[in-house]
Amino acid sequence: MRPVIVQFDQQRFRHPKSPMRIRISHATSYHYESPPKSVTQVLRLTPRNDDGQFVVNWRVEVSQDCQLHQHEDAFGNVSHVFSAEGPFDELSVTVAGEVDTHDTHGIVSGAIERFPPGLYLRETALTTPDAAIIDFAEATRAEAGADALTLLHALMMGVNDEMTFDVEPTHVETTAAEAFAGRRGVCQDGTHILIAAARHLGIPARYVSGHFYREDDVTAQDAGHAWAEAYVDKLGWVGFDPTNGISPTEAHVRVAVSLDYLGAAPVRGTRYGGGGETLKVMIDVDQASWQSQS
């Protein structure tokens, strides 16, 4: 039996402001030259509702026979775990669905919070600031002042200015310090740098993995998106997308939050036996047409 989990029944839900319905499909396909005996993966691919987004429908599908176990992880994310018994040459994990969003000026409310903000001051291996990040953080504060919101905007724009988008030099295990030293990287790297700098300045900050609808109508993407959220007194969690230099809008769909990439990674997997693995990721983020229901 191929597992299909339908997360929510089809429903129609219309937000009062700047509403958008985003249709997402995200496929991760593996090909193996020599078939594995088994593959185990942990998926964080399923968004949850908050005041800025509502999941209209969502499904998770694995191409091999297996049981898909659903959990809520320690941070409140939906996770799925499966182990598929080989041998097989191909394995793909596909998620697809529609999410209604609207602009909240980057402010996140109504999300599931399992920790007080203080937890998000923790250092992790990927977000430990080095001297360069500390200098950057402190210089930014010297210029922007102590008001948290202003400071965070300045940090975000600083990372946006400093970093050049480049998929080549970094990989999933690159640390904030390494990426900052090279001044090149992807959204994951910029987000780690922003988090490292904010935490250094005593502002709780966290990693968000998700999707981004591009206004230029390029819907096919080969990687998901990531940005940071920082905790600001009185406002709560506020998003900062250093790659685009903006706070998240209705074009952003939050999927998972954690201390860094590792905790929010869309897929973490392992294989027993086999080899010659190639991976292809295909993501499509598009605007869906409103469908009316009777």
Partner: protein, 473 residues
């Protein structure tokens, strides 16, 4: 620093304390060369065991043996009962604390422990948040380091709630003493320790997942032959009669843990793991770990396997958290702590830091996450330069340090070059917690600083071990 309390001769050195009566008589009867001969014999036996077991001979050959002292350290039954009560209370409190930290967080809300001391602690595992474990037991095996300063006063120096080691020495030391000194044994009534593996197995089985339908399968998970404690792992697996597995011997399917056997997959219910949290599941913690079991944490979260000790217990080993133990005992049990804590200054607090900086030459300063006696300053014996260097380190990261007064650990007669002389000792009893409560085998690992005047008992820094006798009655 006052003269140390001697376990045999007391404070003034002119009495013989009752528990040591026989030993003292025996020491005066036995010719010195017999002691020396026995000492060498003991070393031979250990070397033979070492040769057959230890991580011996990788190119640079001979692994150093931990020196063994043939003179036992003795405690009276009433002294032991005092300790036993205190240890039981402390470990109960530790378990309640860890449950709370990963659950309701009442102690943080009550403001007794500062939030950031927990949340920003590397040993705290956010992944354990909200996770329940069978019978609410997190620390199944604790090694509590005890020091003594006079006839009545014991202090806890350190709590080891992660994966305390050394119990194999407790068992081997007893074994070897019985072989070498049968007549000395016959002159005492000594409480046995050899039932420790049996008690351990009973404890481990008692905490199997509630859903385990049959006699639970227990395994011991080791990082492998290259780990420095591998000998202890294989020794214990042997004594427990359970499989000694490495990460690659286990796998998880549909949230159930199996081991790969020649008869196909066999379900595993309890894992006595000697692999650190960081390495235990590459899908949850360090993704480069090859020592762990992918998916183990999901089976754990589903309640299908028990890990002993639980993930995240290291929070209790932290020395800054340690300094709150008296409050922790009171908060959860409503009792006064029976075992004292060494007075501790937390350098993270401004006033404490100021005091510490002003009194460095008299204090012992330790890293909060450190162990094995590394990275610490012993003020009274440190050079001026060393103190100044440490001062700079301390100022740069005060959160990382605590300080304690230099305590005169008790001494115990020890066989050294110049004959029998007093040397400083500590004690690590092993505290087992299972469904039916706390069990402590009477005894533990006595570590002894072999260098005259030295207070550092760690084996990595020239310490040795002794057999520990608890007298019956």
């Amino acid at each position: 620093m006052a003269a140390a309390f001697d376990e045999m001769k007391g404070h003034d050195g002119d009495e013989i304390r009752p528990a040591y009566g026989e030993l003292s008589r025996w020491l005066s009867e036995v010719p010195p060369d017999v002691l020396d001969y026995r000492r060498r014999e003991a070393e031979l036996i250990f070397r033979r065991i070492g040769i057959t077991f230890a991580v011996y001979g990788e190119a640079d050959a001979t692994e150093r043996l931990i020196p063994f002292d043939v003179i036992p350290r003795i405690m009276s039954g009433s002294e032991w009962r005092l300790l036993e009560k205190g240890l039981t209370q402390r470990v109960n409190a530790l378990n309640m604390f860890i449950k709370d930290v990963y659950g309701a967080r009442e102690i943080l809300r009550a403001g007794i422990i500062p939030e950031d001391l927990v949340y920003r602690n590397p040993a705290f595992r956010p992944e354990m948040n909200g996770q329940r474990v069978p019978h609410d037991i997190y620390v199944h095996i604790a090694g509590i380091d005890i020091i003594r300063v006079d006839a009545e006063t014991f202090y806890v120096l350190e709590d080891n709630a992660r994966t305390p080691s050394g119990v194999s020495y407790m068992l081997e030391n007893r074994e070897i003493m019985m072989r070498l000194f049968p007549e000395l044994f016959s002159r005492h009534r000594i409480a046995p320790v050899e039932n420790y593996p049996d008690e351990l197995l009973r404890s481990l089985k008692s905490v199997a997942p509630l859903s385990t339908p049959r006699e639970p399968t227990v395994v011991l998970l080791t990082p492998g032959v290259f780990n420095s404690a591998y000998y202890e792992h294989s020794f214990l697996a042997d004594k427990l009669g359970v499989e000694l597995v490495e990460g690659r011997d286990l796998f998880v399917k549909d949230e159930i843990v199996y081991m790969r056997t020649t008869q196909g997959p066999q379900r595993v219910d309890v894992i006595y793991r000697r692999v650190d949290d960081d390495f235990i599941d590459p899908l949850t913690f360090r993704s480069d770990s090859v020592l762990g079991v992918p998916g183990l944490m999901s089976a754990y979260a589903a309640g299908n396997v028990t890990l002993a000790n639980a993930v995240g217990t290291g929070i209790a080993d932290d020395k800054a958290v340690y300094s709150f133990m008296p409050q922790i005992v009171k908060f959860y049990l409503g009792e006064e702590p029976l075992l004292k804590n060494v007075p501790t200054w937390r350098c993270r607090e401004e006033e404490h830091l100021k005091y510490v900086l002003d009194h460095l030459p008299e204090l012992v300063v330790k890293e909060v996450h450190g162990s094995g006696g590394y990275g610490m300053l012993i003020g009274p014996t440190a050079s001026k330069i060393a103190i100044e260097q440490f001062r700079a380190k301390l100022k740069a990261a005060p959160n990382n340090f605590i300080a304690q007064p230099t305590l005169a650990l008790s001494t115990s007669p020890t066989c050294v070059e110049e004959g029998v002389a007093p040397r400083h000792v500590d004690l690590r009893p092993f505290v087992l917690t299972g469904r039916n409560g706390v069990r402590i085998v009477p005894g533990g690992l006595t570590r002894v600083a072999l260098k005259k005047g030295s207070l550092v008992v760690n084996s990595s820094q020239g310490g040795g071990t002794k057999d520990t006798w608890v007298l019956d009655g």
